[in-house]
Amino acid sequence: MSSATRALLEVDDLHVSYGRIRALHGVSLAVPEGAVVALIGANGAGKSTLLRAISGILPPRRGAIRFGGKDLVGLPVHQIARRRLIHVPEGRGMLARMTVLENLRVGGFARRDRAGTSGELERIFALFPVLRERREQPAGSLSGGEQQMLAIGRAMMAGPRLLMLDEPSLGLAPLIVREIFRIIPRLTAEGTAVLLVEQNARMALQCAAQAYVLQTGQVVLSGRAADLLASPEVQRAYLGTSEGS
């Protein structure tokens, strides 16, 4: 592990259990400032568990999570979010009865500056014009793809330093998936780092700089995304199947 330059997010020897079931044992991972890091692996490998532990929803049994050099373990969820580490969970977490605009405004709750909030709102509407069109509609009435855009837009409202996206492509048509992945380079251009969890390993590896492969709660492979994309092991286990599904 390269710990010479300090990464934005550092996870060190993390252990998480659900009751007696061990979900993660000894996961270490780093996300550098402004980088895209992909986390791939089969269903049940522990990818979502890792994100939930980082965002404070699941307490780890052992290990350290540092964000911007500060320890996060034990902090309540809302305080971790206030440090602008934003988690977009699988299933998107819509406030279904509130309007699109209200969902976005809620996303900006953690920041105090009004000007920043309205500027961010304009940027999000420019990225996802459909959200502007539907801003007065209840979020629950949006299509799956639009909800995913809203979920990402809401996370952007906080001005995140790190955005953790859990399966943004889940259940979406390929065209929509491409539109959503198109956003990721724009995020990093603004200095936001992205930790991307995906079943769609090819797309994830194509847009990431670094990647980790998780298998039954452990990191089995890690390195430059391009190298993993070319690795026969990864191709056999993750790319072949993801093409077929």
Binding site: I86, G91, V106, G107
Partner: protein
């Protein structure tokens, strides 16, 4: 009775019911804000209102304060009580069963009634009305000035409250908490802080509703019975819809008044109160999510 008289009687009943409904709306809102934030059913909402009224009365009698001063003291006291209740009693129980919380509110209600009799022994529950005694005439229908003024204040409070929920940052956060607590946490909203804000609102609403009811009913008796009006209202209104609650409060107030005016003389008193419970039962059969609530349907 001439046709005019009959019409005047009907107008009187509707107006009188609507005036009562405006105060019911405040009590029902105190119930709904708590329900929305934490899914907790506060069976003691009537007792909270009673305590609000008695504190205002006690502040004006024992401290010799004017109405504004008494309201201020009473609000401070009730907000403090509500915050303590939230912090000391509810917060440790939050992760336990909802049923335990509901039973708890029943117990708290009984305790409050007992405590009020001891605490306020010998202090009149009456609150001197600042409004003129002579009734207002609407057409040829006389209506008590107290009731009209109380209703106007209640409506003003409802307007402020709707602005608060839809126009303010804190209101937006409270609605996010009501909608999905996990999402609220994930955007950085402190749940405990917002539960506390909810209970502070309950404290203020209890004082305002209790005091207004004391004016309108001409005495402080039976304020806790206001709690029983709340259940038909919130069921009819759909439990978590603020506009639905307000409309249902007026509907129940008018229904009670009209039914009491026409049917009570035939069946003997008290049918007005029964009527709203008949509506409650009918609602549960036909539209269990209430007239204005929505069944949970959304795209996934």
């Amino acid at each position: 009775m001439t046709v005019d008289d009959r019409l005047a009687f009907f107008v009187f009943l509707v107006a009188d019911g609507a005036l009562a409904g405006s105060i019911y709306a405040l009590v029902a809102l105190a119930f709904v804000v708590v329900y929305k934030a934490s899914r907790m059913i506060n069976f003691a909402v009537g007792e909270w209102t009673m305590l609000g009224a008695r504190t205002t009365a006690a502040a004006s009698h024992t401290l010799g304060l004017g109405l504004a001063g008494a309201l201020g003291v009473s609000c401070a006291g009730m907000v403090a009580l509500a915050l303590c209740f939230n912090r000391v009693v509810l917060r440790p129980l939050l992760r336990r069963s909802l049923l335990a919380l509901i039973m708890l509110t029943l117990g708290v209600g009984i305790f409050m009634r007992g405590a009020a009799t001891v605490l306020f022994a010998g202090i009149s529950p009456r609150i001197a009305s600042p409004f003129p005694l002579e009734p207002l005439l609407i057409g040829s229908v006389p209506i008590s000035t107290d009731k009209v003024a109380a209703a106007a204040i209640a409506l003003a409070c409802i307007a402020v409250l709707s602005w608060f929920f839809h126009g303010s940052r804190t209101g937006l956060a409270l609605r996010a908490v009501a909608s999905d607590q996990q999402v609220a946490l994930a955007v950085g909203i402190d749940l405990h802080r917002h539960f506390a804000i909810t209970w502070a609102l309950v404290g203020v609403l209890s004082v305002v509703a209790g005091t207004l009811w004391s004016f309108a009913s001409g005495g402080g008796f039976g304020v806790e019975l206001l709690g029983f009006k709340v259940f038909p209202i919130v069921i009819l209104g759909g439990l978590d819809s603020l506009p639905g609650t307000i409309i249902a409060a007026f509907a129940v107030g008018i229904l009670e008044s009209v039914v009491a005016g026409y049917i009570d003389p035939i069946v003997g008193g008290g049918f007005g109160h029964v009527a709203s419970y008949l509506v409650l039962i009918a609602t549960l059969f036909v539209r269990p999510w209430g007239l204005f609530g929505r069944p949970d349907v959304e795209r996934v």
